[in-house]
Amino acid sequence: MTTPVSSMVLILVGSVIGSAGAIFLKSGAHAVNRHWTSIALNWRLALGIVTYLLSSVLFVKGMSKGELSVLFPLVSLGYVCTLVWSRLFFHEVITKVKLAGVGLILVGITFLSLGSH
């Protein structure tokens, strides 16, 4: 079984979109207060959820053809994107510890995918 390029592109686009969705979820989450309208009229939350949903549709489509061993590591690239977004949009500090943590996770996922057939 080989993994079609189309699946890889779907997963890659899906993980970038998904990590972008997390930005909207977070900025929307900060706007929530005791008023129900702060959830119902929260366009950032709505956009975040839609983006998330879209990314999972792409995931489902991408995962349906191809090997998980190739596709899994592509999913994890979303984590790297998230570090960039967090710095850009929320001015979070990217410490060496965070880089080390994400680095370990990427290596671990790559090992996992090498072990799954």
Binding site: S27, A31, Y52, F90, T95, L104, V107, T110, L114
Partner: protein, 140 residues
């Protein structure tokens, strides 16, 4: 992204709530693992479907629907966690779900165990530990 709403969002993280946020996301990875398994089961029936048919399938294929309901629950909890924690920590923590998927695969579905898988699981646990327990250096 312009924070045009009420208070300017200067994040003053409450340590207790940050810990809670991390704990919530770690617990949530169990939900994600279950959701992913169900979605994978359902997705096998969609290998020849187009993008639209895939979207419809989310509502008509029971496994996919159940998987996405779990994802929905996860999203609600994740949003709550994001209020109190850093995105750069919480999002990568979701990777712990890979560990559950792998362990469940081996124990419950008799997938083969390999040295690669064991090493991978251990490294991911280390990474999650480093992020979760050592990553929260709010401002320095």
């Amino acid at each position: 992204m312009t924070p045009a709403t009420t208070a300017p969002e200067v994040h003053v993280p409450d340590p207790a709530k940050r810990k809670l946020a991390i704990f919530i996301v770690l617990a949530c990875t169990l939900l994600v693992a279950m959701a992913q398994y169900l979605i994978k089961l359902g997705a096998n029936r969609l290998s020849h479907a187009g993008l639209l048919a895939t979207a419809i399938g989310i509502f008509t294929i029971p496994q996919l629907f159940a998987g996405y309901c779990l994802y929905g629950l996860f999203t609600v909890l994740f949003i709550y966690a994001l209020r109190h924690g850093e995105l750069s920590i919480l999002y990568p923590l979701i990777a712990l779900s890979y560990v559950w998927v792998t362990i469940t695969g081996i124990l419950a579905f008799h997938e083969s165990m390999s040295a690669f898988k064991i090493v991978g699981v251990l490294i991911i646990i280390c990474g999650v530990g480093v992020l979760g327990f050592g990553g929260g250096a709010g401002a320095e």
